[in-house]
Structure formats: structure tokens, C-alpha cells
């Protein structure tokens, strides 16, 4: 048994607060599952004040979540002593019974929600009774969870000591929540302004454009679009302003205030203008004859491409202009680490960015997938000297770990998934040599490029960057519970709806790395899983397993 294996066996015990973090994540996932699983839309048809009350629950949930998150952030920033002094090591005496009660209440709450939120007959017969029972069980579910987290006396102490942060969180939560309603009221006005900018832009390039201010329909004689409130630009404005606010807060010591605050309205205005140009470009694509691309890939991807470009442009502004930059506190002389950061993240970024770009010009099937392979190969070649310093030796252990991840993935991926459902038809419609070439590129990307890029980003970079900023001073495969769990959960979230198999696979690939600190082991495990999934898909035609 070598030193590295001994080091892994002697890995530090989970920190005392790991259970608390786990409970919070569990509640967040439960809420997410309930939110996605149930919809209050059916209640809109029910002419009852009780249905109206239940219909408002998502708003209460949104308000409570926002207030809790802001209170937590405020307490962490302004009253760290309160968080530090919590009894992390003393288990709540009611933890086990409270957890049991929480589990039972959760199941009951889900069952009641199926009746109440879907407005089924029993609820319609006795709406008051069902609403009260549903609310009571909901409260019991949350209270039991709270008592599993901390004892009642601790909660009372938190309420007393962190009062300023809680009050601040509630006020900020109400303001943020109310601003959501305000923005809804502004949607139509914003849509009108967007309509005017789109019409004005189109007039620069086309004569005789179609423009109906009543229906907000705009376009050319060959292709028109309706500027719905969802397309008016508020989503992009909200996303860009939220991103920049978080960025300004995280790097506040490196920035000059209040000057840097000017960036917020500027970013919002830029997002709105770029959205208007996005709609004009969409109409131009449709007018040129590429209607499927305009309605398909371009419509779904252009918003994200715009958000990424605007966000990165504004981050670059804060880095390059002294008017925003606090020179005294800004970091200097980091060149050596910086090349390593780029080397670890650039392949992942190249694949993700190329996927967005090729997705934007696709009409449902990504024929330009090989571009991802080209982009990844170019970046991997550019930084090849860095990768040569990593350990690349063959071992059967990572192959075995990859096989376990394959079995878990197959067991957890839903068979009803429509992912890749368009593949057979699209490939059959093309000449056989094009279909074969595309499948060869897709397989190479899935089995070689994706494991390399994702392992460099998540295991090579993130597991160490989470421990310290100068990540390359830490040995590869250095274990901490926090970096192991957080990097794996983020890897899972990167897989969207397949977050659970993604998280478990991420944990297994991390374990492959931790075993002897050889980066190649993580790549081997990942490549084995993807290779087996590809083989399985080819053999069975179950393309949905191929994510």
C-alpha cells in the first residue's frame, strides 16, 4: 500500500457541520422536487378563496427563500461570530425523531399536494378542510426539519443574536419579491420599447417591414415575430444585473466604489439593447429562409450567448479600467498560476462555448458537433506542455470505477427521457458517410474530449481551487470533504436534469483521482463510463443514456 493510498485512508473525518450542510441541501432538493413535480395552475380555474390562498404558496415560498438567503449572507458577512458560535458539534437531542417526523410529514405533504394542487374532487368538495390539513402538514415538515438542524433553544438564540441580519434579510427579501411584481407590471411597457427598437433596426436593412403596435408584431413580409413580455428583455436584464451584483460583492475589495456601481445600470441597458438586436437577427435569419434555425437553436441559445458575452465584457471592464479598479488591493504577479488556470479551464470552456454557438445555428439536430471536437483539440494542443506534467499511467482500478459509474448512470437515468430522440431520424435522412462521420466525431468527443475537458475543470482545477486560490501549489488528489462534495454536486448540476447520476459519477471520478493522485485515473474512469454508455446506446438504440 503506497503513501497516497494511506493518505486517502487517513482522510480527515467529515467536519461537524457537514450534517447541517447536508440537511440544508436535502431541504433545497425536496423543495425543488415539489416545485417541479406540482403546479398550481389547475387552481386558477377553481372559484374558491381557499384555492386562491393555496395558489399563493409559491409566492410565499419565494419570499421566504429570498429572505432566508439574504439573512444568511448578511449574518455571514456582518455577524460571523453568531455563525461561528453555533453548536456545530452538539447534536440536537431531537435530531433523530425530528428527522423521522420530517420524512413522514414530507411523504404526507406530497400526497396531500397531489390532491390539493391538482384540484382533485376531494379538494373541490371540502376546500377549507384540505387547505388547512395541507398547510398544517407543510408547517410540521418545515418545523421538524428545523429541529433536526438545531434545537429549539438554539433557534431562539439565533433569533435573538442575529436579529439585525434577520430584519435586514426580511426587508431585502420583501423588496426583491415586490420588485418581481413591479417588473411584471413593466413587462408590457418594456415590450413596447423593445418592439420600437427592433422595428427601427429592421428598417435599416429592409424596406416595407411589417409592424403592428397593437399586437407587437414586427418583421418582414417573409418572417414576423411577436414581442411577448417574455421576449421583452427583462430576463436578460435580471440575469446580467444579478450576476454583476454577485461579482461586485465577491470582489468588492478589488473595486472602487461607488464608481463600480455605475456598471449595474449600464449592464442592464446593454442586455436590453442586445436582446432587441437578438430579435432583429432572428427575424433576419427567418427572412433569409432559415426559419427552423430562427425558431429553434437561435431562439434558445442566443440569449445565453448574449448573457455570457455581456457578463464577461463587464468583468473585463472592471479588470482593465482604473476608474473601477482599486489598484492598492488588486492582485498582482500571478502570471504562473494564471496560465495553469487557463490550461485547466480552457478545454471545458471551448467545448461549452462551441456547443452554444453551434446550437444557435442548428434547427434541432446539431450537425456541427464536430466543431466542438476541433475546438477542444486546438485548446488541448495549445496547453499540451502543462498536461505533460500530469500523471498518465494505466491502471485497472479507474476502469472498474468507470464501470460502477456506468451501472449507476443506467439505473438512474429515466427511460422516458426524450434526450437525443431526434438522432435516428436525422441520421437516417443524411447520406450514410455523413451519418457515419458525425457518429464517429460524436463518439470521439464523448469518450475522449469530454472526459479530458471535464476532468481538467472539475477534478484537476475545482477540487483544489475550492481549497485555496493558489490551487497549483496543492498536489493533485488532495482530499477535503468540502471540495469533494461541492465539486461533485456542481458536476452533477452541470448535467441539468441528470444531476443525481451526475453527482454520483463525479464522486466516483474524484475517488479514482484520490486513490493515488494520478490525474489520468480520473480521465480513465470517466472515459470508461462514457465509452460503455456509447456502446450501450449503439447496441440498444437507447440514445437517451448518451448525455
Amino acid at each position: 500500500m503506497n503513501a497516497r493510498r494511506l493518505a486517502l485512508l487517513a482522510a480527515p473525518a467529515p467536519p461537524a457541520y457537514a450534517l447541517h450542510v447536508g440537511l440544508v441541501i436535502a431541504l433545497a432538493l425536496e423543495l425543488l422536487a415539489l416545485t417541479v413535480g406540482f403546479d398550481t395552475q389547475s387552481l386558477l380555474r377553481v372559484p374558491s378563496v381557499w384555492a386562491l390562498l393555496v395558489g399563493w404558496t409559491p409566492q410565499i415560498l419565494r419570499l421566504t427563500t429570498t429572505a432566508a438567503l439574504v439573512s444568511f449572507v448578511l449574518a455571514g458577512a456582518r455577524q460571523p461570530d453568531v455563525i461561528r458560535s453555533l453548536p456545530w458539534t452538539d447534536a440536537s437531542p431531537l435530531r433523530v425523531p425530528a428527522l423521522g417526523l420530517h420524512a413522514i410529514a414530507l411523504v404526507l405533504f406530497a400526497a396531500l399536494s397531489a390532491v390539493v394542487l391538482n384540484a382533485r374532487t376531494p379538494f373541490l368538495a371540502h376546500p377549507a378542510l384540505w387547505t388547512l390539513a395541507w398547510s398544517a402538514v407543510g408547517v410540521i415538515t418545515i418545523v421538524a426539519w428545523g429541529l433536526a438542524l438545531f434545537s429549539f433553544s438554539t433557534w431562539r438564540s439565533i433569533a435573538r443574536q442575529a436579529q439585525p441580519s434577520i430584519v435586514g434579510g426580511v426587508v431585502a427579501g420583501i423588496v426583491i419579491w415586490a420588485s418581481g411584481f413591479l417588473s411584471e407590471a413593466l413587462w408590457l411597457s418594456l415590450a413596447r420599447y423593445t418592439f420600437n427598437v427592433v422595428a427601427w433596426t429592421l428598417r435599416l436593412f429592409y424596406s416595407g417591414i411589417v409592424s403592428n403596435p397593437q399586437t407587437l408584431t414586427v418583421g418582414t413580409s417573409r418572417f414576423t415575430a411577436i414581442i411577448t413580455p417574455q421576449c421583452s428583455g427583462y430576463e436578460g436584464i435580471g440575469l446580467v444585473v444579478a450576476f454583476l451584483s454577485v461579482y461586485l460583492w465577491c470582489f468588492r475589495k478589488e473595486l472602487k466604489f461607488p464608481g463600480a456601481l455605475v456598471l449595474l445600470p449600464l449592464a442592464g441597458l446593454t442586455a436590453w439593447l442586445v436582446n432587441a438586436l437578438r430579435i432583429a437577427a432572428l427575424i433576419a435569419l427567418g427572412t433569409a429562409g432559415w426559419k427552423d434555425i430562427a425558431r429553434g437553436g437561435f431562439h434558445s441559445q442566443a440569449g445565453w450567448i448574449a448573457f455570457n458575452l455581456i457578463a464577461l465584457a463587464f468583468v473585463a471592464l472592471t479588470m482593465r479600467f482604473r476608474v473601477f479598479r482599486n489598484e492598492a488591493a488588486a492582485p498582482t504577479a500571478r502570471a504562473a498560476r494564471d496560465d495553469r488556470t487557463t490550461a485547466y479551464l480552457a478545454p471545458f470552456l471551448a467545448i461549452t462555448a462551441t456547443a452554444m454557438l453551434t446550437g444557435a445555428v442548428s434547427a434541432g439536430f446539431d450537425w456541427l458537433y464536430p466543431m466542438r471536437l476541433v475546438a477542444a483539440a486546438a485548446v488541448l494542443w495549445t496547453f499540451r506542455k502543462t498536461y505533460r506534467t500530469l500523471t498518465w499511467t494505466w491502471s485497472w482500478w479507474p476502469v472498474a470505477i468507470g464501470c460502477v459509474a456506468f451501472v449507476i448512470w443506467l439505473a438512474l437515468v429515466p427511460a422516458s427521457s426524450t434526450t437525443n430522440a431526434a438522432w435516428p431520424q436525422a441520421l437516417q435522412s443524411a447520406p450514410w458517410y455523413w451519418a457515419a462521420a458525425w457518429l464517429a466525431c460524436r463518439t470521439a468527443g464523448y469518450v475522449m474530449a469530454a472526459p479530458l475537458a471535464e476532468e481538467l475543470a472539475f477534478r484537476g482545477f475545482l477540487t483544489r481551487r475550492l481549497v485555496q486560490a493558489d490551487f497549483d501549489r496543492l498536489p493533485l488528489g488532495m482530499f477535503t470533504w468540502a471540495s469533494f462534495v461541492i465539486s461533485s454536486v456542481l458536476f452533477g448540476l452541470f448535467h441539468g436534469a441528470l444531476w443525481l447520476p451526475g453527482t454520483l459519477a463525479g464522486m466516483l471520478f474524484a475517488l479514482a483521482l484520490y486513490r493515488r493522485g494520478a490525474f489520468g485515473d480520473a480521465v480513465q474512469a470517466h472515459a470508461t463510463t462514457n465509452g460503455l454508455l456509447a456502446l450501450y446506446a449503439f447496441a440498444t438504440g437507447h440514445w437517451w443514456v448518451w448525455s
Partner: protein, 60 residues
């Protein structure tokens, strides 16, 4: 202490992603400006992009 901060920061990031995912993925809009199904790729790209931009330009 650093480990505790890491858990808190990680939790905050995961909570932010989930809170962003909920309204976007549940969106009923037929053609939204921001497509909820591309959320993970969009956020991952911007996070990696910010790290690279800061790494490349932060030392100047």
C-alpha cells in the same frame, strides 16, 4: 475555519444555482429569452469564463 467558509460558500453557490433553476426550468413561456434547459451550460460557461478572464487579465 477555512473549511467552514468553504462549506458556506459552496452551499451558497449551489443554492443560487438551484434558486435560479426553479423559476427558469418551470417557465411556461413558449419562446423565452433565456432558455431554462440550457441553464447549466450557460452558468458553467460564464463561471469558467470569469475565472479565465480574471486569471489572464488580473496580473496586469
Amino acid at each position: 475555519m477555512h473549511e467552514r467558509n468553504l462549506w458556506l460558500s459552496g452551499l451558497a453557490v449551489i443554492a443560487l444555482v438551484l434558486s435560479a433553476a426553479t423559476p427558469l426550468l418551470a417557465s411556461n413561456a413558449r419562446a423565452p429569452e433565456i432558455d431554462g434547459s440550457s441553464l447549466s451550460a450557460g452558468l458553467a460557461a460564464v463561471a469558467a469564463g470569469v475565472l479565465v478572464v480574471r486569471a489572464r487579465w488580473g496580473s496586469k
